[in-house]
């Protein structure tokens, strides 16, 4: 009981220290504990993100516990509560929907545990309780893609959009950003949700190619995997057209396709870097430093002109 009481007092004091001292008392975070609620344990994008987080935690000497939501926000909400119960020193959260994390976030606030969001933003109410968001500017990615498409097509042409899951925040951002900056001369023939899945994009593209054929001047794929799906369908069709294909992510397959001249460009979104940056931001908050509300990943466009300067992001 004494140990527990001391621990409670310690936790309360350290919470107070964070609240009162502010940036002046930039203490070391070594030996502190962080709970990282990640989207999944094994996934082509999430896994390297987790590895980045682990690397940064090791470098800072903090103890990182990774728990996986398996893409279920309900699971994540429970895990958030239990991380707060553990009285860890900081929480890194990968939000999967708008509201589910609210109870846990409120408890974290009461307990004085700082929370940083990674990759995706949550709802407005939730973000008020989150110290900082670390991830790519996905709306900006849409805007950049619109500009690339406009330049490549000379401002005019018919395109198709291969979008991610309906309702997914990343999908909404990348679509809205693209449509906001799209030149008026560019006409969207169809928008299909291929769920960030190469196989689904392949099936959808077969239909689109059959339907629109040589009308297709450009393809905006909201990630590289879907762009690869389209290229595969195009090759199968034997159709002699060469549309402008844009992707996002900077996957190895996109690098290969750009080198082969099949794809026009992609935007780097390095997962390892995202994980590393998120932990670094969280440790700054834990040490009492002020951080920006949004810590963006730089959006670097990779085309055949500059591809030699970069390594695939994942």
């Amino acid at each position: 009981m004494t140990i527990r009481r001391n621990f409670l007092i310690g936790a309360a004091l350290s919470a107070l220290a964070v609240a009162v001292a502010g940036p002046a008392a930039a203490a070391s975070v070594e030996g502190k504990s962080i709970c990282y609620i990640t989207a999944a344990n094994s996934h082509f994008y999430v896994t390297p993100t987790n590895e980045g987080a682990q690397a940064a935690a090791d470098a800072a000497g903090v103890e990182l516990t990774i728990v996986s939501e398996e893409f279920s926000p309900q699971t994540g909400a429970d895990q958030l509560n239990s991380c707060v119960s553990r009285k860890v020193d900081g929480i890194l959260l990968w939000p999967l929907d708008a509201n589910s994390y609210l109870p846990g976030l409120l408890k974290a606030k009461q307990a004085g545990i700082p929370v940083v969001a990674i990759d995706t933003t949550a709802g407005e109410e939730s973000m008020k309780l989150i110290a900082s968001f670390v991830g790519a500017d996905k709306y900006g990615q849409g805007q950049i893609s619109a500009k690339q498409m406009g330049e490549a097509l000379g401002g005019e042409g018919d395109i198709i959009i291969l979008a991610g899951q309906a309702g997914n925040n990343t999908t909404i951002m990348r679509t809205d950003g693209f449509l906001a900056d799209k030149p008026d001369g560019i006409n969207v023939l169809a928008t299909v949700n291929a769920d960030f899945d190469q196989q689904k994009a392949l099936v959808a593209s077969r239909d689109l190619i059959t339907k629109f054929g040589d009308q297709i001047d450009g393809v905006y794929a909201e990630d590289d995997a879907m762009a690869a799906g389209f290229l595969q369908a195009l090759e199968e069709s034997g159709l002699d057209i060469k549309p402008v294909v844009l992707g996002i992510g900077g996957m190895k397959m996109a690098f290969d396709a750009i080198n082969a001249g099949q794809m026009s460009s992609t935007i780097m979104q390095p997962p390892f870097e995202n994980g590393r940056l998120a932990i670094e931001t969280l440790t700054k908050v834990m040490a009492g430093e002020t951080v920006d509300a949004v810590v963006p990943l730089e959006n670097t466009v990779v085309t055949k002109d500059n591809i030699g300067d970069y390594e695939p992001a994942f």
Partner: protein
């Protein structure tokens, strides 16, 4: 008669399986983690148990009656979505009652399919599982509904008496109530007779169809309650809220000691099963064990427990229980008519 053999030892382990599991979790947790054995850990485990707990509670009488209900996850999703999606039109509280109503209605559909149309419960509820899951996605367009009043249901996860939260109180209360019903009332005891041997129950004059219909409606209600609680405490009505909870619910009930074959089980055992499973999950998460590895442990524990159950000569127990239940049923029946 004391017979000291593997059977008796197995019997002891099986009888106190939940205590053995909880003790193992506590010892291992205390050994590997500095801050595991605290009241807040207990609070967190009990709180997390509430939602899957209601599903498991509904399933307990179903299994005792020798039936199965696979549709509880889908029912929960429908109820969760209704609870949030109807809030703007009906208000927060009426919408929650509609959520419960959705559960009861789905339970009635299951009861009709099993009792009136004589479809095996496995097949009937497999069908309603599929229909319910698709219906939830169709109505919601695949999108979770976010509450415009996210703070309304947050009290459900507030602190209460150090180790509880309002929603864990609801769950524990429901489990105690069900225990009183199952063990303390004639209708509860008759249910065991129905599950042990249907012909015997029929010949004892028990309204078997009535009992089976009743447990399906109860199960629907419990799944509805799980959906409402989940939706309100997360301020989100997800059309897939329950889809991942069917298997954990069944696992918890079986770990508790309720038999899939019917005629045996208890709601307190289910309560223990849910808590033991929750404690194991929490321990694994605290230790950073990946979720897919956790599933392996759960599977191994299931096989171990069921095997011990068999070695311990559970069938012997079942026979005497069957006879006893039938005898009780007969007495009740006679008592009722004379």
């Amino acid at each position: 008669m004391m017979r000291l053999n593997i059977g008796t030892i197995g019997n002891v382990v099986v009888r106190y399986r939940l205590l053995v599991m909880l003790a193992a979790v506590a010892v291992f947790g205390g050994w590997t983690l500095d801050d595991f054995l605290t009241l807040t850990t207990l609070q967190s485990i009990l709180d997390r148990a509430a939602v899957v707990g209601f599903l498991a509670l509904g399933l307990t009488p179903i299994l005792i009656a020798g039936q199965i209900d696979l549709s509880i996850g889908s029912i929960m999703s429908l109820a969760a979505y209704a609870t949030i999606a109807l809030q703007p039109d009906l208000g927060n509280v009426p919408a929650a009652f509609i959520g419960l109503g959705v559960g009861i209605l789905a339970g009635v559909v299951n009861a009709l399919a099993v009792v009136v149309f004589k479809v095996t419960s496995l097949v009937a509820t497999l069908a309603t599982l599929l229909i319910g899951a698709s219906l939830a996605l169709l109505i919601s367009n695949g999108q979770p509904a976010s509450s415009a009043d996210p703070l309304f249901g947050l009290f459900l996860t507030d602190n209460f008496l150090a180790i509880l939260t309002p929603r864990s109180v609801l769950f524990i209360g429901a489990a105690l109530l069900m225990f009183v019903w199952l063990k303390g009332t004639p209708s509860g005891r008759n249910l065991y007779a129905v599950g042990s041997s249907m012909p015997a129950a029929i010949s004892a004059g028990i309204n078997v169809n009535g009992y089976i219909a009743g447990v399906f409606v109860l199960s629907g209600f419990c799944a509805g309650a799980a959906g409402v609680i989940q939706a309100l405490s997360s301020a989100t009505g997800s059309p897939i809220a329950g889809s991942v909870l069917l298997i954990p619910a069944i696992t918890a009930v079986v770990i508790g000691g309720t038999r899939l074959e019917g005629g045996r089980g208890s709601s307190l055992a289910t309560l223990g099963g849910v808590v033991a499973l929750g404690a194991l999950t929490t321990l694994s998460e605290y230790n950073g064990v990946p979720s897919y590895t956790q599933a392996v442990y759960t599977g191994l524990i299931l096989i171990l427990l069921i095997t011990l159950d068999r070695i311990a000569g559970g069938d012997e127990g079942k026979t005497t229980r069957t006879l006893r239940s039938a005898a009780v049923a007969k007495q009740t029946q006679q008592g009722g008519t004379s």
